[in-house]
């Protein structure tokens, strides 16, 4: 957990990255995609965040094939997230950047953290994001001839289309919907 996101660390980080937000104990830095590698490199070398936790993406879109769309309309884009941590105090930072959906390209982090290799491959096949200079940008889980990017919001869950999820009964038609009432 981020209990030990201590005050000193947060202060020094805020000085370097004014975009720092702290929501629900999760520190998040938003940068331009042109600063992507430099930011991660700086966090690794200057803030001792040497532990690479994960990298992933979010597809922000108003038209969704599954689930609910965002509450407020958004400009469609991909958000790329990279989570770094240290290995002594438990400080944790999530770096975020945006790229547009027309040309989903971003430089690969493999030069900074070799461990991002597999995470980038996963984001590549699930979202169709191209990581420039990645040594081996091939599919991770899906068969080689698979078409489409399953994690896109426009990608339908076919089994759900054919047979609705039985649990949906629980979701709809609850008489007390919205009332703040305790269960017991």
């Amino acid at each position: 957990m981020n209990l030990s996101n201590n005050v000193e660390f947060v202060e020094s980080l805020t000085a370097a990255f004014p975009s720092l937000e702290n929501s629900f104990d999760t520190l998040k830095i938003t940068v331009k995609s042109s600063d992507w590698i430099d930011t991660v490199d700086k966090l690794k070398n200057e803030f001792e965040l040497t532990y690479f936790s994960w990298l992933s993406a979010i597809d922000w879109d108003n038209e969704v094939a599954i689930g609910d769309p965002p509450k407020e309309p958004v400009t469609p884009h991909f958000e790329i997230l990279c989570c770094l941590s240290d290995s002594f105090a438990g400080n944790l930072v999530i770096v975020s950047t945006q790229i547009d959906k027309e040309t989903p390209q971003i430089p690969s982090l493999v030069g900074v953290f070799a461990g991002s290799n597999w995470h980038e491959r996963e984001a590549y096949e699930m979202f169709g994001i191209e990581f420039i200079n990645h040594p081996n940008l091939t599919k991770m889980y899906l068969p080689d001839d698979y078409e489409g990017n399953p994690m896109l919001k426009s990608f339908e869950l076919i089994s759900r289309e054919v047979k609705p999820w039985p649990g949906e009964v629980d979701v709809e038609g609850m008489p007390d919907d919205g009332k703040e009432e305790g269960e017991s």
Partner: protein, 398 residues
């Protein structure tokens, strides 16, 4: 050479003839996906030069179930059922970070008693998971006995988990804001809520005694074995820097000498109330990884015994709305799973289900180090190294 011939030592002649390097072609060896040592359905495509591995390419996806996508069409209470099945060897421990992230977004907190029960069951899941490792690893090295002992010992732990939750592998016991009323405690009305089953405390104490005994026995039986030592000491060394660069976590990271345990930084489980050590290794080899896990079982048993003694009374559930809607927000919560850092990044848009759920699993990052680690190793060591990483394919593929 002349000198040798003169002195009459002939063997040198024959040795000269074999030490000539012959150009050979690398052979491609396919291991898995149905190989017993791959813990499920991992496939490795290895290029071997004789007994030496020149490169390895893991092929994943045989167990890919798309949980991140499925989570987008489920409500929050339904997702706990899914996350149970990510790492099936320690199902209970998977639920905790997801529930904690959701509770954080809803700004509610589980009652103290529920937190204690969660902690006890998490540690039991850790012991059960490490028992599987201890048995299976010795088996992979070539010792048949430990797996039977370990499975018997693990069964005691699973019985306890079952007595509380009703499930051995997939408890699905956590609820947002607390825990489900326990399974084995007789019929009750809503007012008189069910609690831990009768005799749970004493059964747990007995079982923990047995765990401590089992750890000692395992230490002598496996750790004292010469073959085991030769097969594991100095094999598959992971340096601290390499481990961090690849996001390797948990006992593997600690075996490389990094004293980093997320349990000490947790605010949703009361670990700070208890006394325990964080075992670390020195060399980062297979033996250390085995030893760190063995010692962790001891520490887990110690934590459970303390938690039983200091169990607070009180409710098991905090008040939550009947229909759970999570306010807009993003939160990442990670915990120390038996296999390493397990985290959930919940992105809520205020609906009944998450807009996106990123699942960070320990085994995925842990085995991403395999191509680097196995390069240049001998083929028989491949089994020893792979086994020491203790991965579960459900945890790799999600």
């Amino acid at each position: 050479m002349d000198e040798n011939l003169n002195s009459g030592s002939i063997p040198y002649v024959s040795e000269a003839s074999v030490s000539v390097e012959i150009e050979t072609e690398d052979m491609t060896l396919n291991i898995g996906p149905q190989h017993p040592s791959t813990h499920g359905v991992l496939r490795l495509v290895a290029k071997v030069d004789g007994e030496k591995i020149s490169s390895v390419e893991p092929v994943l996806g045989y167990m890919h179930r798309g949980y991140e996508k499925l989570a987008e069409v489920r409500t929050y209470p339904q997702i706990t059922t899914l996350v149970n099945r990510i790492d099936w060897v320690s199902g209970f421990a998977n639920e905790i970070p997801f529930i904690a992230a959701t509770e954080k977004l809803m700004e509610i907190e589980a009652p103290e008693r529920a937190k204690h029960i969660r902690l006890i069951l998490t540690e039991m899941a850790r012991i059960a998971s490490h028992f599987v490792f201890n048995g299976a690893y010795a088996l992979e090295i070539g010792a048949l006995t430990p797996i039977f002992l370990a499975m018997e010992d693990r069964e005691r732990i699973l019985d306890l988990i079952e007595s509380v939750t009703g499930g051995r592998f997939h408890p699905n016991f956590n609820r947002i804001g607390g825990i489900k009323p326990a399974a084995g405690s007789g019929p009750t009305t809503k007012k008189n809520i069910q609690d831990l089953p009768a005799g749970f405390y004493q059964d747990t104490r007995d079982a923990m005694e047995k765990v401590l005994e089992a750890v000692e026995r395992m230490e002598n039986l496996v750790g004292g074995n010469e073959v085991f030592k030769i097969r594991t000491k100095g094999v598959g060394i992971i340096s601290k820097e390499l481990a961090e660069e690849y996001g390797v976590s948990g006992p593997i990271l600690r075996a490389s000498g990094v004293k980093f345990d997320l349990r000490s930084q947790t605010d949703f489980l009361p670990y700070d109330k208890f006394d325990y050590d964080i075992p670390i290794g020195e060399n980062g080899d297979c033996y250390d990884r085995w030893y760190v896990r063995l010692m962790e079982m001891k520490e887990s048993a110690k934590i459970i015994l303390q938690a039983i003694d200091s169990m607070p009374s009180g409710p098991l559930q905090t008040k939550v709305p009947k229909v759970i809607k999570v306010p807009k927000g993003q939160s990442y919560v990670r915990t120390e799973n038996p296999k390493g850092e397990m985290g959930y990044y919940v992105i809520s848009e205020g609906g009944l289900g998450p807009y996106r759920l990123k699942v960070r699993t320990p085994s995925f990052s842990n085995i991403s180090i395999l191509p680097v680690l196995l390069e240049g190793q001998l083929l028989p060591d491949l089994i020893a190294i792979m086994g020491s990483l203790d991965f579960v394919l459900g945890d790799v593929d999600r």
